[in-house]
């Protein structure tokens, strides 16, 4: 059962990703990326990360992609401005070049020491409560740092997007 769901989700994720990089319309490719994001959220659920599942949907699908789509529409880009000749050739070359890297990574993970059993886990593993406990016990400082980062990003984006007066 899980295997099937995994298979389907991963196929969706891959298809979305490939669609994202191949479609020439920005809008279409953003929507395609949305598919990937949802598929990855499902994968998180499969991996007992229920909190991340939610966060993925809320932040990525809900916030980031939505914002992206909004901006794309807002800017109203003309399609003909973006002539991208022979991008498929480049993709092919990159794919070939990436093959050894991927193979190496694959081999590396294959040879990882076997510590835990992947199929069987604790009952409440990945619960929001467990995550929260862990987060506020061991990761308090980074967590606070992230909050500062978000604040900085907030201010930064306002500063950047603000229209400057012509000097």
């Amino acid at each position: 059962m899980i295997d099937t769901i995994f298979l389907i989700l991963s196929l969706f994720a891959l298809a979305g990703a490939i669609g994202m990089i191949t479609l020439s319309n920005t809008m279409h490719s953003a929507l395609s990326f949305l598919v990937t994001v949802f598929a990855i959220a499902g994968l998180y659920a499969l991996l007992n990360a229920s909190f991340l599942f939610m966060v993925q949907i809320i932040i990525y699908a809900g916030a980031i992609i939505a914002l992206l789509l909004f901006i794309v529409m807002f800017l109203n880009i003309k399609e003909d401005k973006l002539k991208e000749p022979n991008r498929y050739n480049i993709m092919l070359v990159v794919a070939i070049i990436l093959a050894p890297v991927d193979y190496l990574l694959f081999q590396a993970f294959l040879k990882m020491p076997h510590i835990g059993d992947f199929s069987t886990t604790l009952d409440n593993f990945g619960d929001v409560k467990m995550l929260g406990n862990e987060l506020f016990k061991g990761w308090l400082v980074p967590f606070e740092a992230i909050s500062v980062l978000l604040l900085v990003a907030l201010i930064g984006s306002i500063v950047l997007a603000r229209k400057k007066e012509r000097e």
């Binding site: 994202m20 794919a95 991927d102 294959l110 992947f118 980062l149 950047l160």
Partner: protein
């Protein structure tokens, strides 16, 4: 038959990461490049979460969460940058943004 094993998740993540790189290098549309980067982040997140389950430790999930937070702030900055840049050049083609390029080479 592909089963939902450790190595399958990892393989998926690697493939997604590679697709991200392919998009990053081959496309000129700045939005697509941005999404490729996000895709790569997601691929890494999958690896973290997988490893979290693999080792039975929550750390991976927490890091993944932080990556998402960073991605969110990045999105804010990046998109506002795109807006600012678009305002400057009226283009989303990154090849138009070459002000730093040295015009007269040696």
């Amino acid at each position: 038959m592909i089963e939902a094993s450790f190595i399958s998740y990892i393989s998926l993540a690697i493939l997604l990461f590679s697709i991200g790189i392919m998009g990053l290098i081959s496309r000129k549309n700045i939005f697509i490049i941005y999404m490729s980067i996000e895709l790569m982040l997601n691929a890494i997140n999958i690896i973290f979460v997988t490893l979290s389950k693999y080792f039975g430790s929550m750390d991976g999930q927490i890091i993944a969460m932080m990556v998402m937070a960073i991605a969110a702030s990045e999105a804010a900055i990046f998109l506002s940058l795109i807006v600012a840049m678009y305002r400057l050049k009226h283009s989303v083609n990154i090849d138009d943004f070459n002000t730093l390029k040295q015009k007269d080479t040696l």
